[in-house]
Structure formats: structure tokens, C-alpha cells
Amino acid sequence: MALFKKEFIIDSNDPMSYGQASSSFKKTLKQLGVAPAIIKRTSIAMYEAEINTIIHGGGGTGSVVIENDHIEIIFEDHGPGIADIDLAMQEGYSTASTEIREMGFGAGLGLPNIQKNSSNFKIESKPGEGTKVTIRIDL
């Protein structure tokens, strides 16, 4: 059994709540006394994945698990999915609409940033079915 587990509903209809899951988990990590460098990496990776779930996936669910030696973060949505994952992973690639860009997203840096900040990163997606992102950060 996981030492700690928490689930989140990621609602895309409420812009005020964007980033709330990452924000709350960040606080958890600080209270647990996790090393600042790890908090920094986790914050960035989790925030980018949460935002992608909202703006590209149309909302979904998130979960965090803490084990003795690692953190695992999962975001899952039933949005449009990603046809070409390799392409999506490229720095600067983005399908974000003008509206989304106006909100300050859509530089095409999210996925590469998640990769950079996680120890292990997996993205599973089928067009038309949805996307699941799994981030592992070693403690």
C-alpha cells in the first residue's frame, strides 16, 4: 500500500482552479520536509501536466502517490488524444488556439519541461480516446 495517496478532479470549466492540484501537492511536499530541489522539479512537472489535462484534454482526473523512494503523479483525460507523441514532445510544438495563447499557455514547452524535471515520464494516448501521463520523481 502506498504511504500516501490523494486524488483530484481536474475541472476545465473553472479557470480559477487551474493549477490547484499542483498547488495543494506542493504544500504537502513542503510539510513533509521533502528537499527543496525535488519540490521545485515536482512543482514544474505536475503543473505542466495539470494544465495540459485542462486545456488540451478538457479536464479529467489526477492522482499523487508517495512511496518511500519516489513520487508518482498521474493525469488522465478523455479528450482528443495525441496523434504523434514524438512531435508533441518537441520543444515549441503546440496546437494551442489563440484563446489559449492569450491565457499565457501554448509555447510548446510543457511536455519537454515535464521530461526534463522527472526521473521517469510516460505518456500514453490514443486519438479520440484520451491521454494518460505518468510522472515519476525519485526521492
Partner: protein, 435 residues
């Protein structure tokens, strides 16, 4: 006067236990227990937010008074530039500085002059692009403490240059009056955070400042002195840049660097730092972050309205035409500018030193949070339901402190009682009499 590490204190007689302050505390450091507010010392950053919001003026700051000057043979005042904005435009900076001498100080070194010196150093630092950008200003001690407590992962981005106050004091003692015996250096402060920064220094092992007098403590004396000046000495040395540090954007603009940002007000700073942690802040090299609304002009120990003060600072600074200078500079100067102690995370939020125990406590906190009503009403004396959950797990509160939980328990209890009351043992008849 007992010397506490913090300067914000509670006047128990005035506190009604109204819970106004607890929701406003940015580090959730206040609880109401037994009808009185109580400050959790390890969490307090002395930002003065509670002093500002308390309707009963029960929160105050411990400042020195002019009496303290008597302990020294020679005294120097370091007035914060915010002091200049407490007086109307026709009271010039030189008049205020002369008045400071009249109330008892032997010499003056403006914090604004030290701000000019910090500016020169910041400019050099910004030119050498560093992996730590964006840099976060270290001039507001409430913000540095906030970062130590709530944003430990951002600590390495805090500029390791001392605050103008500390630098001014070091210059006075090491470069201007190195041979003076029994010299007392006093900062004239807009806020409790600076008082605490002297008692319990952040970036230096021991502060070179000997005492701090709050602006609202010295104001009336100064006002009287200003009105009875025989002559006005030309004491002002700071440039308009340094004087502008009193208000938001003053510090960031003084760097003359394009990619800077100024954030003021503790709530705004917290939101901004959250975004910075998320990697959302881009194309910024320097962040000026001030705890008070409008910058130091909004300090909790000032007299004048922050916006009036800010407008006056802008006008008074505009009148000053002299360039920044670095008088009395010796080969010691470079060292005097830097912090001599490491900024380390304050582990006050940490639930336990043992990771497994901390995790176990965290799981219980999550569970209690689920069980509480989520109204964050403050009636339990904690700022949020989650904070109560944390207090329960830390052993300093009970679930029944929540009035809703208590009410439900009473309801269950009365229902049980009623049910028990209506229950007739088989030997009893319907009217309850044993025939």
C-alpha cells in the same frame, strides 16, 4: 522590556478573540485559544498584517523609544526613506534629517544612501546572467522570512546582498566611525519586520544596528522639532533612485534593467511566488517583492496613508538632482555589502523529522480535512478547516473545537437520549408505570 525574537506582540487586554486576524495571516501563524489570539512564534514573519487588520488595536510592535539613545555616547540615525513621505511637501528631506539631529542623534546616514550602494551592486549582478535568475530582492525581511517558511525551494534565488539598513549600519561602524567607542546606531523603521531583522538577523550573524525606533513612535517628536528649526543642515546625500526605494517599483526601476517586475502586498507576493515555482514566470531577471501595499510606504508602523506617502515620495525624490555617490568607501566595502550567513529553510511547516511519521500524519490530516465541513469559518480558532486538521494531528486541538462537529455530536446524543427515553422495558406498561 523582555527581548523577544519577534517584534509583533499581542495586547491581551485589548484582544476580544474576534478571529479577524487569523484569516489574514499569510503563514497561518495565529490561533485563537481560550478567547485570545495567540501567535505561533516559529511561523511569524513579522509582516504586520495582523496589526493592520485588528479592529481593536490589540496587535502592536515592540520598538525602542528615544530614551534608548541615552545608553550611548554617540548616536547615528538611519532613517528609512518612508519617513520623508510622512511629512508634507514643504517639509524638505534636509529639514526632516535636521530634526532627527535635534531630537537627539549626533549624525545621520540615510537608508536611501545605502540603497544607492545596493543598486550599484545589483546592476553589476544583473549583467552577469546567472542560473539563478530571476533574482528575488532581499530588501524586505518579511518576504525573505516568508520564502524561508513557505518557499524554501526559491531561497537560492534570493539576492545575497544585505538590506540597505544593515549596510548603512556596517558602513557607519566600519568606515565612518571605526574608532568611536560606545556608538549607537538606530534604524527609523516603517515596519515590525525590520525590528525583528535586527533582533534576529536573517543574512548576518549579528546585526550592526543597535536599536530600532518605529516611525509612529518618533513622529510627534520629529514634528515638533521640524516646526522649531533654527537652521537647516544639508544632510541629504541619497539620490532620487535611493529615495524611491520607499515605494513599490523604486528598487526595480533603480536597477535600470528592462526585465524586472515589482510585486507589492503580501497576498500578491504569495500568488506571484506560487507561479514562479510553477515555472510560469518567464523573461524576468529581477523580482522586487514587498510585503506591504505600495511598498514600505504601506508599512504597519507608519503614520500617513500609504498612497499619500507614495505620492509625496515621488515628488520629493523628483526634486533631488544629485547623483548616487559612494562616500567613505574603503577596501572593506565589498565585504560589507554581502550577507555573512547562509539563508536556510525554516522547517516550521514540517510535520515530523522522520519521513514515514510525517507521511502518516499527512494521511490523517487529509482524512480529518475530509471530515470537517470545509467552511473555513474560523470559529474553531484556526484559519481554515485544514489548519484545524493539522492542529488536531499535531495534538494541539480537538475535533470538537469545530462547532459543526460539536453540534452534530450533540444532535446524535440527544437523538440517542430521546430514543432511550422512549424505550419501555417489557415489564413496563405503555404509560411507563409498573403495574
Amino acid at each position: 522590556m523582555t527581548v523577544l525574537k519577534h517584534s509583533v506582540i499581542l495586547d491581551k487586554d485589548k484582544c476580544l478573540g474576534c478571529t479577524n486576524c487569523i484569516a489574514h495571516c499569510p503563514t497561518e501563524a495565529i490561533r485563537v485559544r481560550q478567547g485570545k489570539a495567540y501567535i505561533i512564534a516559529e511561523r511569524c514573519i513579522d509582516c504586520g498584517e495582523c496589526i493592520r487588520v485588528c479592529p481593536h488595536h490589540a496587535k502592536k510592535a515592540q520598538s525602542h523609544t528615544l530614551e534608548a539613545l541615552k545608553q550611548y555616547d554617540f548616536t547615528v540615525a538611519i532613517p528609512a526613506p518612508t519617513l520623508y513621505g510622512q511629512f508634507r511637501d514643504h517639509t524638505s528631506i534636509d529639514m526632516i534629517l535636521t530634526a532627527l539631529k535635534k531630537v537627539g542623534f549626533d549624525d545621520i546616514f540615510e537608508a536611501a544612501e545605502a540603497a544607492d550602494i545596493v543598486t550599484a551592486k545589483l546592476k553589476k549582478m544583473l549583467k552577469t546572467k546567472d542560473k539563478n535568475v530571476p533574482w528575488i530582492s532581499s530588501s524586505c525581511p518579511a518576504i525573505v522570512r516568508l520564502i524561508q517558511i513557505r518557499f524554501p525551494d526559491l531561497l537560492e534565488q534570493v539576492v545575497n546582498i544585505e538590506s540597505p539598513m544593515e549596510i548603512a549600519a556596517r558602513i557607519i561602524k566600519n568606515e565612518i566611525y571605526p574608532d568611536k567607542k560606545n556608538i549607537g546606531v538606530f534604524f527609523i523603521s516603517p515596519c515590525p519586520a525590520k525590528i525583528t531583522a535586527v533582533r534576529n538577523p536573517i543574512g548576518s550573524k549579528v546585526s550592526a544596528v543597535d536599536g530600532v525606533i518605529a516611525i509612529n513612535e518618533i513622529f510627534l517628536d520629529l514634528q515638533t522639532a521640524v516646526h522649531s528649526l533654527d537652521s537647516i543642515e544639508e544632510l541629504g546625500k541619497a539620490s532620487s533612485w535611493g529615495i524611491s526605494w520607499a515605494r513599490s517599483e523604486g528598487e526595480s526601476h533603480s536597477t535600470e534593467w528592462t526585465e524586472t517586475v515589482a510585486v507589492d502586498g503580501i497576498g500578491n507576493v504569495i500568488k506571484f511566488l506560487e507561479e514562479l515555482e510553477n515555472g510560469k514566470i518567464k523573461h524576468v531577471d529581477f523580482i522586487e517583492a514587498m510585503a506591504c501595499p505600495g511598498g514600505c510606504v504601506g508599512g504597519a508602523l507608519t503614520v500617513e496613508n500609504p498612497y499619500i506617502c507614495k505620492a509625496r515620495i515621488i515628488r520629493k525624490a523628483a526634486k533631488v538632482k544629485r547623483p548616487p555617490e559612494e562616500r567613505n568607501k574603503t577596501e572593506k566595502r565589498d565585504n560589507l555589502l554581502m550577507m555573512d550567513a547562509e539563508l536556510s529553510p525554516a522547517e516550521t511547516l514540517k510535520l515530523d523529522n522522520d519521513f514515514k511519521t510525517a507521511l502518516e500524519k499527512m494521511s490523517r490530516i487529509e482524512q480529518y480535512t475530509e471530515e470537517l465541513p470545509g467552511l473555513d469559518c474560523g470559529s474553531c480558532g484556526a484559519p481554515t478547516c485544514r489548519a484545524l486538521a493539522e492542529d488536531i494531528v499535531n495534538g494541539c486541538a480537538k475535533k470538537n473545537d469545530c462547532i459543526f462537529v460539536l453540534r452534530n455530536e450533540i444532535k446524535d446524543l440527544t437523538e440517542n437520549l430521546a430514543e432511550l427515553g422512549s424505550w419501555m422495558p417489557p415489564l413496563f406498561s405503555k404509560d411507563g408505570k409498573k403495574k
